[in-house]
Amino acid sequence: MPWNPGDDLVAVQRGPEPGGLGGAYRVLGETLRGLKTSFGRVVEGTTTIEYPEQKTPVYPRFRGRHRLHTFEDTGLEKCVGCSLCAAACPADCIRVVAAENDPIDRVSGGERYAAVYEINMSRCIFCGYCEMACPFDAITMGHDYELADYNRSDLIFTKEMLLQEPPVRTPLRAEGE
């Protein structure tokens, strides 16, 4: 026995049937309406840029790729391997293994230095807590945001990579820009 829907039956309201002369006319009208908006904006000029030939300038406070610093006068690393950045990191992407300085061939200013300092960039959320936690201003967030790579292991940045002056490729936003 077929099912009787009873009072639940709802009639579907249908629009005009597609096709035919009326349909073609409607389509043309809607297309022209859209194009009006497009051509209306042409006079305003372009807002997109030609990335990667051109880059968006960033604010000075922008938090991009990290940098480890050295003292300008002595060349010693500022990082003493205290691991506070690793403790502060909410993404758990920093790994520090400390070691003791050799007094003859010092690496850092303090008693200890970071023998291993790694940041897993694929996990980093660029929150800047590591920078805030650092008692020696040894780690700061730079401006570079072009970090894409072809495999994950290349995204683990080592101490040597972080200590190097990164190629300047990110323009800073000028005053009032």
């Binding site: 003493v80 391997g81 205290c82 691991s83 506070l84 690793a86 403790a87 520090v96 400390a98 070691a99 003791e100 303090g110 008693e111 200890r112 008692p135 020696f136």
Partner: protein
Amino acid sequence: MPRPEINEITFVVDGREVVAPAGTMLADAAKLGDVDIPVFCYEPKLGQPVGACRMCLVEVEGIPKLQTACSTPVRDGMVVNTETPRVKAAQESVVEFLLLNHPLDCPVCDKGGECPLQDISYGWGRGTSRTVEPKRHFEKPVELSPLIAIDRERCILCYRCVRFSQEVSEDYQLILHERGADTFVGTFDGHPYVAPFSGNIIELCPVGALTSQAYRFRARPWDIEQSGSVCTLCPGQCNVSYTVRDDRVMRVLSRQNDAVDDGWLCDRGRFAYQSSYVDDRVTEPLLRDGGVLRPVSWERALAEAARLLGKTPAGLGALAGGATSNEEGWLLRRLHADVLGSRDFDSRSGASGPAVSAGLLAALDTPEAQATVPDVEWAHSVLVLDSEPVDDMPILDLRIRKGVRRHGMRLAVATSRPSSLDSIAEQAVRFAPGAGEAFVCALDAAVGGIGDVAGLAAAAGADAAQVEALGRMLREAGEDVVIVWGERLTHGANPDNAARALLKVAGRLSLLDDHAGAGLLQVPSGANGRGLREIGLLPTAGPGYREPAAVGRSAQEIAQATIAGQITGLHLLHVDPVQSFPERGLWEQALHAGAVVAHAQFLTDGLREHANVVFPAEAGAEKEGTVTHPDGRLQRLRPAVARPDGARPTWQVLSQLIAAVGGQATALTSMMVTSEIAEAVPFYAGITHDEIGGFGVRWQEREAAAAFPAGETGPFALEDPRPAASPNGALRLGRFRSVWASPEVAHAPALKFLAPKQRAELNPDDAQERGIRHGQQVTVTATGEDGSAETIAAVAHLRAAAPRGSVFLESGLGAESVDVLDAALVHVNSDPARPA
């Protein structure tokens, strides 16, 4: 003194009524009301408080000035305030004062993150500093010992380390130099602080002044995990906590268990973990191929081991070392007794004679006669018999010292070698090396007041008047007497007689009836000696001290039978008999004669030369299973880190061996072996890992203890003991094994400097007769029965306390060990090749 009765009192802290035991210090009692009073110098483990840091000042109503909560005992009706403005101001001032000279180098300090000074500065300090003056400066960091670095700038002069050295370990080495702000911790003449328990001061230090050299800059508290287990390096079985970073043990901390270790740890337990990360550790199965041990696959090694053990027409022998867990011992026993039908296995490390019979073992280990470790501290008197606790079971040494110092316990020491406890002992009696049996017979006569004390004492090489005095002291000291006796007492030629004599002494002092606080406590020669005995890994006893159908061969007989060709296969579990048994020459021949299958962490002398198959064994932190403490406490080993790549757990290897020789391997997990043991040993019935838990459970306190078999009961008739050899121009040879003589110490980089060198301890008069001076090179020569002479070189070490007519040499040292000499008498001469 017996434990005092504890009354409860009620006092008020910060408006809360709190019930606390009378006499508790306020700092502890306040915790019962959830009130935290900050402390630096206060540590109940160290005994009496000193009130040095002033951090714990509180206001007590009725007393006008602020009081130190650490040294004020609570009284009934006391009203204490810890949060008034006066207290707050005092706490802030004290923190500020302590920080005056404390450098703020927390980022480089190893203590940072687990530092009480940091925590208390945050919790109770002002938050800002008003200091503008320069701080005190010291050279930093300085080596206090090869194990400990001291940074004197960070020290807040809480006295904890000094009190530990002076009042707990009693090595009296650490002191405070200078006065006022110039004060610093050091040893009196600047020598390194080397002592068996020195590492504890690292854990005691409330700031980063004392740090571990081995752990220096290795990890931060947020990088690590703690993993609780039990140390299996000696019978003390201290509870430890492994600090793990990146699946690697970084340090070992004590895990306080008052019934076992009182919160202390010896340096061997603390630093030997390093030996599991050295290159010469065995990490894969090795097979002798063309005379050289080469790595092979597990399948090949198992097949080869099964061939060597399974298809031998003649006998098989098995030995288990001290570090063997109950599970491994059980599977070894199953493999040999049930599958291969051999009864020749032994687990008594370093024993030369036959084993004590099952009935006497049961009589000695009966729950009624068992003393616990805390009993040692609270007894009226303690007799240390033929054992050197600091070498055999180091943690017991601290317990004995605590009893004497804090509870007025009376101590007597009866050993052949001068003991480190002599200075605090009321009676120190010496007997001839190896004459333990005769000495206990003499002691029995002295305690009982009947028999020929003089004759027996002479046989033991002891002074009769001293033995009489010792007997009198034990009789009259009080009802709680604990006899701490070393297993080596029963390693002689007639162990049953020694055991009977000991039981007679215990009976006369009424230690054998069910009287808590008194009894016998054995110091086994292997770390898990008691557990292996109870699961029946002895030639004379089955599981649960059952009488075996036939008595098997003891270790020495196994060696002799192997040389004679009656035994063709030897199975060595965590033991190298060449290193740990007295007759080195005999064992070398035996290992050479038989096919050897071994489970080992390191290739020690005997294994390197003679083993046919070596399976890698786990290090302590990698092990799973249970062990039994000398007082019957079952404790659980939990793996803290993974095994090296490719290694398999030893219980699994044994299980696979059982299958490979055609037996039925029933155990799929270590826990299943535990339940097999619980079924086989009646007084372990129903024990599970859950019940053992983190702090262990004494089987004597469980219901199943009623199933303990009745041992031999008296009256015991004693045979005439064999008299000690008369020197007759020569010297009696005594052997001792230092706490540092172990492969773990030899391999741990931090401990290597402690590895002992052979020395001949003798009396200055004996030395003078032979023209030997202190520190001189000497040769020690023993002439065997067949006229062959063995000689070892040693450095003369003159000790006024050494008895005349004896010389003591160290065992467990490899080729220069005293184990090379197989005689009771030796000649000591100055080395002609190297004159003084």
